[in-house]
């Protein structure tokens, strides 16, 4: 069974530039999550999709972050414009239902200079 795929694995951008991350969840998983993990911290949920609908985006900084999951399969997370404090690992995860065991992708390490 293929795992959760993410790309790119690493990205370095300057502040005020824009960046996009892509995630393809495990086939058949209805729920997709995007997390931000700053060094030394636990993952912070940014947005949770169930199929192509948003379940929770209460911690998504909507002035600069956006995410979509068209067709209820893969998803993109965008940051525009980036700030220095956005430097983090962005993890995507998926699960069969809307709770329980999540399967994580390898993450994208973003460095904003």
């Amino acid at each position: 069974e293929a795992g959760v795929a993410q790309s790119p694995r690493y990205k370095i951008i300057e502040k005020r530039q824009s960046v996009a991350f892509w995630c393809n969840p495990i086939s058949g998983h209805a729920t997709l999550y995007w997390y931000q993990q700053i060094l030394g911290q636990g993952p912070k949920l940014l947005i949770q999709f169930q199929n192509n609908g948003v379940v929770d985006d209460s911690q998504l900084p909507k002035d600069r972050f956006s995410a979509e999951r068209l067709k209820g399969v893969d998803s993109t997370l965008k940051i525009q414009p980036a700030k220095l404090e956005d430097s983090a690992v962005y993890l995507c995860a998926s699960s069969l239902g809307n709770f329980g065991e999540q399967y994580f992708g390898p993450g994208t390490r973003l460095t904003v200079t």
Partner: protein
């Protein structure tokens, strides 16, 4: 405010020792508590606990939940260098299907 607190934040022990990692929580409408192991980037699932007092076990790892005192422990016996990782605790709430992670415990096993 909902929160999950893990302790200790870091721990260094020798191979063969037994360790106990703690996770306490304050979450409205608790549904479940999950433990993950994070070695490089991607956390991998260890246990999900929903009922008090029922131990979950997998090899040298075990975990138990106390819903009255609002905490869980993760035990690792006969530790090996491969157990070195960050151990994350997460709590799910039924309201809005919210999930909150703790900061993790960084465990380092010395050979």
């Amino acid at each position: 405010e909902d929160k999950v607190v893990q302790s200790p934040l870091s721990l260094v022990v020798h191979e063969g020792d037994t360790v106990t990692l703690n996770c306490s929580y304050e979450v409205t409408n608790f549904r479940s508590l999950l433990w993950y192991k994070q070695e490089k980037k991607a956390p991998t699932f260890l246990f999900m606990l929903t009922s008090s007092g029922i131990e979950k076990k997998s090899g040298r790892l075990s975990s138990i939940l106390d819903k009255k005192e609002l905490f869980s422990i993760l035990n690792i016996t006969a530790t090996q260098t491969g157990d070195s990782a960050v151990y994350l605790c997460a709590v799910e709430a039924t309201r809005d299907d919210k999930i909150i992670f703790g900061k993790g415990t960084r465990l380092h096993i010395l050979p």
